[in-house]
């Protein structure tokens, strides 16, 4: 039935300078379905959504929406809203200081006066109808995050949306809240709203979705009914390897781990305020190991706990066999631990400072407040590493914010290499950078291991981890669910462990 289709996108192309983000992507959304959009980082999910909501203009392709005879050309988020496309983002875009009712109605309509009673009444009705546990008169900030998310959805619903996009709405919610969100989604589904659901949690996809569209590297891999696509196959499609291919792909790398000696770092029962379950972890000298799991599985939180980046709530730590206290990053740095954070923009670069200052920052801090490097020393260090890592920059004086993502990442890497760490944590060092740089970084990791540096490597691309790591710690739902070494380390096995199913082909 063609009437069923609320949204169809055909042959969408979109390029950014140097990157082809979307290549002939098709996407179809039926009314009354929950449609998961899946793909690893850089697959093009968010670009597709941004094209649809008018944040980025498309290069070519057609978008048609039920109710509009012609194809539509969406130029701004406002326009998308008028066409009935509403988006609810991971971070809540409502005003926390206003009441629930106001958040539903502010910025809409042309009344000069606010009809509180009417607004409250209509809101209460809607909240009741959608089973949202909030009061119309309640201040939004006093609602839990899940409820705030639901209010945002309710606003979208009240604006008569036909297409509702939920962009990772569950990443900050707990199980109970997710369940509530799902019942709301099912409710909307029964009303005939088409929902596009983006998430990194596989269980959620299988719990609530009807169809799945998988993207990889900006291309459409396919659209499937949920019942036709088992988890392992979904993961293999997201990662781009057919199961048959990957079962026999062994890693060819040699372990440099010197297992006989005392571990460089050992923790028992480590937990932090960021919400990871207490875990045990150790790494030998020259070992490269990795945390794997999907985004949001707690892998970043775990390594942050090792570095003392969040408040440590418990656990014992031994460095080189000696008990130490790591309460803040400075303590970890003093023990020769380096940490390249996942969020380069928020946690990594200091954007207005020059490349040189960014490179020497960590070593400078370790050296002490009263012993700054002279300009020539700093320049020598910076130039050395700019050359060593091939950082493309006009000069070491250029502000780091004007560099490309890959070069920024290399500069941050240079910052930690400069401190000559005995243990280096790299959280997604290859995210959002070009292929050439990715390979360079992997080679560098192996070279470091050869020189006796221990490395913990995290990447969304399992292949990268297979190429570099000798031991993988698998995480799901903020806890460690398995540990794989040597022969067990095949993509199939990893995927099965992530998916939480018994290995079939392993």
């Amino acid at each position: 039935m063609p009437n069923d289709i609320v949204l169809s996108m055909r042959n969408i192309n979109k390029s950014f300078p140097g990157v082809r983000a979307l290549h002939n992507v098709d996407f179809t959304l039926k009314s009354g379905e929950i449609h998961a959009l899946m793909g690893e980082n850089g697959a093009g999910k968010s670009t597709l959504i941004k094209v649809l909501t008018g944040v980025h203009p498309k290069d070519s392709g057609q978008i048609t929406i039920a109710g509009c005879a012609k194809e539509v050309n969406i130029k701004s988020p406002q326009e998308a809203q008028n066409l009935g496309i509403s988006t609810v983002y991971q971070e809540i875009t409502l005003c926390p200081n206003l009441t629930v009712a106001e958040n539903m109605y502010i910025g809409r309509g042309n009344n000069t006066l606010v009809h509180w009673a009417k607004m409250r009444e209509k809101t209460s009705e809607l909240l009741d109808r959608l089973n949202i546990p909030a009061r119309a008169t309640q201040q939004l900030a006093t609602c839990s995050l899940a409820v705030q998310q639901m209010v945002a959805i309710a606003r979208a619903v009240d604006m008569d949306c036909k297409v509702l996009i939920l962009d990772e709405p569950t990443s900050s919610l707990d199980e109970r809240e997710v369940e509530k969100l799902f019942s709301l989604m099912r409710e909307l589904k029964s009303r005939g709203v088409g929902i596009i659901f983006i998430t990194h949690f596989l269980e959620q996809v299988y719990e609530v979705c009807d169809r799945i569209t998988v993207l990889r590297n900006g291309e459409l891999i396919g659209a499937y009914d949920v019942k036709d696509l088992p988890r392992v196959q979904l993961i293999s499609k997201m990662m781009g390897k057919e199961l048959d291919d990957i079962t026999d792909l062994k890693n060819s790398r040699v372990s440099h781990a010197r297992t006989g000696t005392v571990p460089v770092y050992e923790a028992t029962g480590l937990s932090s305020a960021a919400g990871t379950r207490a875990f045990d972890f150790k790494i030998d000298q020259g070992e490269v190991n990795g945390f794997t799991g999907l985004l949001g599985s707690g892998r970043s939180e775990s390594v942050r706990a090792i570095f003392g980046a969040d408040k440590i709530t418990g656990g014992k730590i031994l460095v080189n066999g000696k008990p130490v206290k790591i309460a803040k990053p400075r303590d970890a740095m003093k023990r020769g631990i380096g940490y390249l954070p996942e969020d380069r923009k928020q946690d990594g670069i200091v954007d207005d400072l020059s490349v040189r200052e960014n490179i020497i920052l960590a070593l400078q801090v370790m050296r002490g407040f009263f012993r700054p490097f002279s300009r020539s020393e700093a320049e020598k260090f910076a130039d050395e590493y700019i050359k060593l890592l091939g950082i493309k920059t006009a000069s070491s004086d250029t502000p780091i914010k004007s560099l490309s993502g890959g070069n920024q990442q290399k500069a941050i890497l240079a910052r930690w290499l400069l401190t000559k760490p005995q243990y280096l944590i790299l959280d997604e060092p290859t995210r959002g950078i070009d292929v050439g740089t990715k390979v360079e970084i992997q080679k560098l990791v192996l070279k470091l291991a050869e020189e006796g540096v221990s490395v913990t490597f995290i990447s969304s691309e399992i292949e990268e981890m297979l190429r570099t790591c000798s031991r993988l710690i698998v995480m799901r739902d903020r806890k460690i669910v398995g540990e794989l070494t040597q022969d067990d380390m095949t993509q199939a096995k990893i995927m099965h462990t992530i998916a939480g199913e018994a290995a079939q082909n392993g």
């Binding site: 400075r330 990594g348 670069i349 200091v350 400072l353 920052l361 801090v365 009263f370 700054p372």
Partner: protein
């Protein structure tokens, strides 16, 4: 050479230096004798330099010193301290209180200064704790001392405005016998050298900027952001106490109501005119000091043009608005677009990128 010129053209000092140059040219055309120096003999029988330039440099001393500290606070805490005038009054009162109870000689003056300094640093630590510890905005946190500061100064001297009679104090406030340059100018020079030494010998600049630009990242690199913020307020305290003591020495008395009145406004202005963002981050102390001298040069120019001292503020306001409007990113990108449309090819891709956002 060309490279260096390029770098200068993009530096934040362009607009302040240009403004200063305009002021100088304006004065040179208006009255060629404006920049002449005279040697006169003052009351104490010293031959001293006088002239408009000397009086600009001299009377901007307190402002220049305070704006140095204000720059650090702005860069680090992303806000401004509006209590500096009041804290200067407190420091000045402590200075006078100590002097009054002893026979005045150089060691006692030093002691008095150290006491004043300690009290001002304590005030800075109070402000800093509110800002860094309680997360209160700097302007609100320092509003407390702005309100209570001058009365506290009054109370320190038991509710009087005491005078301190000593030729030694005159040495600080006006001239040291045999040296024809006013002492405050020398103090500024010495202090500026000290500050640049501190910036060179410590990581103050790097840490402050890192905290101001990206606090999270700074913390992950082992910088104590909390400590840096308090430190910046305490450094401002030192600056304020020096300025307060100069102010007291000029008069030989402490008037808690008028000592460095409204200097907080001028100091924040100096920081802004110097091309520093009031929202923190990268800073240039040179810029702020130039800003301080621009403000003073403007004032003296207006005086020379027979503008009554009370009306100077109105003209100052017009100049300030002109400078900040020119510096506003919105206006700059407008001009760039204008240039784009008139001379389509003259814009370098690099610049376009810089202004794209």
């Amino acid at each position: 050479m060309g490279n260096r010129f390029q770098r200068f053209r993009k530096s934040q000092l362009v607009i302040p230096l240009f403004a200063l140059l305009l002021l100088v040219l304006f004065n040179a055309f208006r009255d060629p004798k404006f920049f002449s120096f005279n040697i006169t003999v003052n009351n104490d029988g010293n031959s001293v330099l006088s002239g408009n330039i000397i009086s600009i440099l001299n009377s901007a001393s307190e402002l220049a010193i305070i704006s140095i500290g204000m720059t650090l606070v702005t860069a680090c805490s992303r806000g401004q301290d509006i209590s500096v005038g009041a804290v200067a009054a407190i420091a000045g009162s402590v200075f006078v209180r100590v002097l009054k109870e002893h026979t005045i000689n150089w060691p006692i003056i030093l002691l008095a200064f150290v006491c004043a300094c300690l009290v001002a640093v304590l005030c800075g630590a109070f402000n800093g704790t509110l800002v860094a510890g309680f997360g209160i905005q700097p302007m609100i946190a320092t509003l407390i001392l702005l309100t209570a500061g001058r009365p506290i100064a009054y109370w320190i001297n038991g509710g009087a405005t005491p005078t301190v009679e000593s030729p030694l104090l005159g040495n600080i406030g006006s001239f040291i016998p045999g040296i024809p340059i006013p002492t405050p100018i020398l103090i500024v020079i010495v202090f500026a050298i000290l500050v640049s030494l501190v910036l060179r010998l410590t990581n103050l600049g790097l840490y402050t900027q890192a905290v101001g630009i990206n606090e999270r990242s700074a913390r992950l690199n082992g910088i104590n952001a909390f400590g840096m913020k308090i430190l910046s307020f305490m450094m401002l305290g030192i600056c304020v106490s020096i300025a307060g003591c100069i102010g007291v020495s000029r008069m030989g008395l402490i008037n808690h109501e008028t000592l460095l009145l409204d200097i907080e406004m001028d100091a924040i202005l100096a920081v802004a005119i110097g091309g520093n963002a009031l929202s923190g981050g990268k800073f240039s102390i040179t810029g702020s000091v130039i800003g301080a001298y621009i403000i003073q040069a403007l004032t003296i120019t207006l005086y020379a043009m027979k503008v009554p001292s009370t009306a100077v503020k109105a003209y100052k306001a017009v100049v300030i608005i002109a400078i900040v409007v020119l510096g506003s990113p919105v206006v700059q990108s407008f001009f760039l677009r204008l240039r784009d449309s008139i001379f389509p090819k003259s814009v370098k891709a690099e610049e376009k990128q810089a202004y794209a956002e």
